[in-house]
């Protein structure tokens, strides 16, 4: 059986290989599917749902679903994009995201998706939850106002034994993700930097070095989210 298979995304036929996720297949063909909880080199979890696509009328997450020969995928449709926009909007009203004072502004995936989906006015009411900042660690600060619970840090930042540096604390709607107290002592400078980088928003911030990337050189200043994928174009 050949590994090369054919699928369609929004009616466009593309080739890909078995074993890939829909997200990966789309990306290698120059088609952008937004993601938030998904990050390269970390096993996908499918928790944020922003990558949802329709397959034969069923909503599936593109980051976890593997391609199959002949699959017909709906991606860039008004309906899906409005649902994705709603997810972004809900994340904005749930947390306290004050972009003007956040050093990830300009390189924040959530903000970039807000721009991509033309989020202009609040559709949902703000929750204005009181959230705290965990700043006792000398290397890394955790700002719960900005955390979107994507768990990328939990899944991606681990020690040699595979034990995570981040863990859930508290329960129910009060649940937060914190730097594990026992693990914290082992956090190297390099791991702290990786943690800041893996976080899609400004919830994990390296201490003492804020705003050192000037406006104009931030990740999305000149290349809006998705534009790098789309610039590659299809290879079909």
């Amino acid at each position: 059986m050949s590994n090369t298979i054919k699928i369609t995304i929004d009616g466009v036929a593309v080739e890909t290989t078995r074993g890939k996720t829909i997200f990966e297949a789309a990306r290698e063909n120059g088609i952008f599917i937004p993601t938030l909880c998904n990050v390269d080199n970390v096993k996908p979890k499918g928790s944020c749902r922003i990558c949802s696509v329709y397959i034969s009328g069923r909503l599936m997450t593109a980051c976890t679903t593997q391609v199959e020969d002949g699959m017909e995928i709906e991606n860039d449709t008004a309906k899906l994009n409005d649902m994705r926009k709603a997810i972004v909007e809900l994340l904005f009203v749930e947390g306290n995201h004050f972009c003007p004072g956040c050093e990830r502004s300009g390189s924040c995936e959530l903000q970039a998706l807000g721009y991509r989906f033309l989020m202009m006015v609040p559709r949902f009411s703000f929750l204005f939850q009181t959230r705290d900042i965990e700043a006792t660690n000398p290397k890394l600060m955790k700002d719960n106002n900005r955390c979107i619970m994507c768990k990328r840090c939990i899944r991606g930042i681990k020690d040699e034994d595979g034990k995570s540096f981040f863990a859930f604390a508290r329960r129910g709607h009060k649940v937060v993700i914190n730097l594990d107290r026992k693990q914290a002592a082992k956090l190297t400078d390099d791991l702290a930097r990786q943690a800041m980088e893996i976080c899609p928003v400004g919830a994990l911030i390296l201490k003492g070095k804020g705003f050192d990337v000037p406006i104009g050189r931030r990740k999305y200043d000149t290349k809006p989210i998705g534009s790098d994928v789309e610039a590659k174009g299809g290879n079909c």
Partner: protein, 484 residues
């Protein structure tokens, strides 16, 4: 007894309200200027990491955010052990200076050309529909001035963008330095850009602005010399050697006779010398010099104050104008409130000269951006903002979060002087007058606006301050109310 209220309803910069009390004989018994603004930011920033302060706190103003950006960054320089003001790398300090002089330039231009010059050129009792920058643009003899105003402001804003990353609310200054260099293309653009967007044109126009004011002054001595004249002390930063320096220096204050009542003071110790009084009727505090006391210890800040405190200006064209300015009062302290405008124009010229000097400095284009040393728990940052001395003071915990913030903004420093100026005008214009005319209300506004308080910009840009005038008798019965 009647109470007259002039209330400008403004937007972002807070709002002010003037009440003037008259007794039955028509004597002014009391005047008060109420301003509601600012204090919230001292609370918002608590619990935030220290490196956010320079980015967050500047949001309290849309006209001179750079001043807050830099004052906060200067305070945080101290916190990261980079020292106060002069401890930065040459690149760090010079980029910030360029940002600041670009800001002074654009803000002063906005104030003088857009907001104040229509009052002078058309007269303060002219029809508000024409007494604004658009009025200048459509009046053939003033069209050039309106165009210059727009282009000069743009030049200053482009400088800000090149140094801070954005024209408004940038991120350039970070604790211990700056986050970027200037590029050679930018240098070429600013120094030799196509007419009129180059520094020599800016210097030429700054001069023309001064000539405009001096010509007006010659023809209208009474307005410029007598209007809202009052004696006071004056305070500002000056460079160690006494030169005008808007970015960094030591605190100096002179009293109305020119005696130095504060000199060579390291502003890290400002609390030893300055206190703030709370008065029940105003949200804005009243700062005063401790050594003199609450009653007489108040002072003015801003361009006029700076001309009174400094010994010289370290740029040749502005120095010449400074000499003329000082000669006008025979070297004595200048208390002519409307000379704020004259002083402001001298600073516009100085800023243009400074920008030119800095743009030619190689340190802007290469060199270390930041520095740091032993971490401190507290830092004070002062800067001469367009409107006067601005104080930022922060205490930072071991966890790097801000525990305490205290800001004394320029407008707060000028709180008492503005109250005094309003009183002078009210007494002069309204004593014995039962009818509150438009020109009289304008006169009160002009007196306030000479100090360029934050509220003026938001209210005057389109020539007409939204007003509610209420006259009440001593039992608070409304006799008359006018809205416009």
């Amino acid at each position: 007894m009647r109470k007259i209220t002039i209330e400008p309803v403004t937007r972002v910069e807070g709002h002010g309200k003037v009440t003037i009390m008259q007794d039955d004989k028509g004597n002014i018994t009391q005047t008060r200027l109420h301003i509601v603004e600012f204090r919230g930011f001292e609370r918002f920033i608590q619990g935030r990491p220290y490196w956010e302060a320079a980015v967050v706190v500047q949001r309290l103003c849309g006209i001179c955010p750079v001043s807050h950006h830099l004052a906060a960054a200067k305070a945080m320089d101290v916190v990261v052990g980079a020292g106060a003001g002069d401890g930065l790398t040459p690149t760090g300090e010079k980029m910030r200076r360029l940002m600041h002089y670009g800001q002074i330039f654009q803000s002063h231009v906005l104030h003088f050309f857009h907001l104040a010059s229509p009052d002078l050129l058309f007269g303060i009792d002219a029809d508000p529909a024409i007494r604004n920058v658009l009025g200048l643009a459509v009046t053939p003899e003033f069209t050039d001035i309106a165009v210059q105003a727009v282009m000069m402001r743009k030049y200053g804003q482009e400088i800000i963008k090149a140094t801070a990353g954005k024209k408004i609310h940038g991120t350039g200054a970070i604790p211990g330095g700056i986050n970027k260099h200037l590029t050679q293309e930018e240098k070429e653009q600013f120094l030799n850009g196509p007419d009129p967007m180059n520094i020599d044109k800016m210097i030429e126009w700054a001069h023309a602005g001064l000539d405009l004011l001096k010509g007006f002054h010659k023809a209208n001595r009474a307005i410029i010399d007598d209007f809202a004249f009052h004696e006071s002390s004056h305070l500002s930063l000056v460079r160690k050697d006494g030169a005008l320096d808007l970015y960094h220096g030591v605190l100096r204050a002179v009293d109305t006779n020119g005696n130095r009542i504060l000199d060579d003071v390291d502003y890290q110790d400002y609390l030893t010398y300055i206190d703030e009084e709370v008065r029940s009727w105003s949200y804005m505090k009243f700062p005063y010099l401790r050594s003199i006391g609450k009653k007489d210890g108040w002072y003015r800040v801003g361009p006029l104050a700076r001309m009174n405190t400094c010994d010289f200006i370290d740029s040749p064209l502005a120095q010449k104008e400074f000499e003329l300015f000082r000669a006008y009062t025979g070297g004595k302290v200048n208390n002519h409130t409307m000379h704020q405008h004259w002083a402001r124009l001298i600073e516009i010229l100085h800023s243009a000269e400074e920008m030119k000097r800095l743009l030619n400095d190689p340190d802007l284009y290469s060199g270390e951006l930041t520095t740091s040393g032993a971490r401190q728990s507290e830092g004070v940052g002062l800067i001469e903002a367009p409107r006067g001395t601005l104080f930022h003071h922060y205490r930072v915990g071991e966890d790097d979060l801000i525990e305490m913030a205290n800001l004394i903004v320029s407008t707060t420093n000028n709180n008492e002087p503005m109250n005094v100026a309003v009183n002078k005008v009210a007494v002069a214009q309204m004593t014995g007058q039962r009818e509150i005319t438009e020109p009289m209300m304008n006169a009160v506004e002009v007196a306030i606006r000479a100090y360029d308080p934050c509220l003026s910009c938001a209210t005057h840009a389109l020539g007409r301050m939204p007003l509610e005038v209420t006259i009440v008798d001593q039992d608070n019965n409304v006799i008359d109310r006018k809205l416009r």
